[in-house]
């Protein structure tokens, strides 16, 4: 797969930037030869365990469904996106999404980031403990 350079994320991100980021994430997750990376292995693995996702296939499938379901309106933060502090992908802008998932059957939270070389880092995928805080300003 020809790797694309991820868009530079503005503060707040524009629709184009978010759309392009989502498309890139979907492409990476759809390609079986492509790798995605956990930003924090333990945090993400615990979340997967809670969702009952034991195998890499099940995890990738869940991420694929999440990336396919979220849309621009589900973007959580209107402010400048937070930058990751995880050692694996320090400085990568994090894009969080809240959405009512049909396939997971509940409100879900999905957060990912595209590292400057175009690699997909997954920060979180879980059922949120609290209701959605902010709606994206249109």
């Amino acid at each position: 797969m020809q790797r694309r350079t991820p868009p530079r994320i503005s503060a707040p991100p524009t629709d184009e930037e978010l759309q392009l980021s989502l498309e890139m994430a979907r492409e990476i997750l759809a390609d079986p030869d492509e790798d995605w990376f956990p930003a924090n292995t333990f945090k993400l693995d615990e979340e997967f365990e809670r969702l009952g996702l034991d195998t890499h296939e099940a995890q990738t499938d869940a991420l694929r469904r999440a990336a396919a379901e979220v849309c621009l309106a589900d973007y959580e933060q209107p402010e400048p996106p937070g930058l990751s502090n995880e050692s694996a992908c320090r400085g990568t802008p994090m894009l969080p999404f809240y959405w009512q998932s049909e396939s997971f059957g509940s409100l879900m939270f999905f957060k990912f980031g595209l590292q400057r070389h175009g690699y997909l880092y997954v920060f979180s995928l879980h059922v949120p403990d609290f209701p959605r805080k902010r709606q994206r300003k249109r």
């Binding site: 790798d35 995605w36 990376f37 956990p38 292995t41 333990f42 993400l44 693995d45 034991d54 195998t55 890499h56 995890q59 990738t60 694996a88 992908c89 320090r90 590292q115 400057r116 070389h117 690699y119 997954v122």
Partner: protein
């Protein structure tokens, strides 16, 4: 994949990583990617489950908890289904399924299963508890000794305090006494020197005249 830090191409390798499980950090060797230039290592999504499994295993080994194979073997030796095995252990069938699936048991659950599977475990556990009790008893037995040491230190401290208190409360008297003593000593010294000087003068010693002048000046 390119390294996040130095942009060099990373290679798939067995890497040593630190994982965390139930608050304990363990180091494991797992599949991952390594940067040959700067040494940065990370795991890919596809290696995550394996990494997690290795960390759990290392934790289980460190904590000396029951192995998955041990539980499976015990059940097979009893020719039991998961349901009947759960009934024998007096735990839920979901617990047996989880444990055989690789879940790490809590310490209490581990001890409970051990006592059911190996009755002699009870004895070992009791001995451990007794050992703990004996240690406590030993510590308690040492307490009088410790308290004697404490009181010794305390007495020393209170002695110091008493002296200090004595000085501070009778400061004026103490200073007055010290000054009087000093004056008396000084007076005696002066007298001695004057006597010595006059004796020297009487003997016509020229060298001592200068010293006598000095001593007289001191005495004045």
């Amino acid at each position: 994949m390119n390294c996040l830090h130095c942009d060099s191409a990373m290679q798939t390798d067995v890497v040593e990583l630190t994982g965390q499980y139930r608050g304990r950090e363990v180091r494991v060797h797992t599949r991952g990617v390594r940067c040959p230039s700067c040494g940065f290592v990370t795991v890919r999504g596809r290696d995550m489950a394996e990494f997690r499994r290795l960390v759990k295993e290392a934790y289980r080994r460190d904590e000396q908890l029951l192995e998955v194979t041990e539980i499976q073997r015990a059940r097979k030796e009893m020719h039991a289904t998961q349901e009947s095995f759960a009934a024998y252990l007096a735990v839920g069938v979901a617990s047996v399924k989880r444990l055989e699936g690789g879940a790490v048991p809590e310490r209490l659950m581990d001890e409970h299963i051990r006592m059911r599977l190996y009755p002699e475990t009870l004895e070992v556990l009791l001995q451990e508890r007794l050992w703990d009790l004996n240690s406590l008893k030993g510590a308690l037995a040492e307490l009088p000794h410790i308290s004697a040491q404490c009181s010794l230190v305390w007495n020393g401290l209170s002695d110091c305090w008493n002296t200090y208190d004595l000085i501070t409360t009778n400061y004026d008297a103490v200073v007055q006494k010290a000054m009087t003593t000093c004056a008396e000593r000084h007076h005696s010294l002066t007298e001695i020197m004057i006597t010595a000087t006059s004796e020297d003068l009487g003997s016509g010693n020229e060298d001592s005249s200068c010293a006598a002048d000095t001593q007289l000046a001191l005495a004045a």
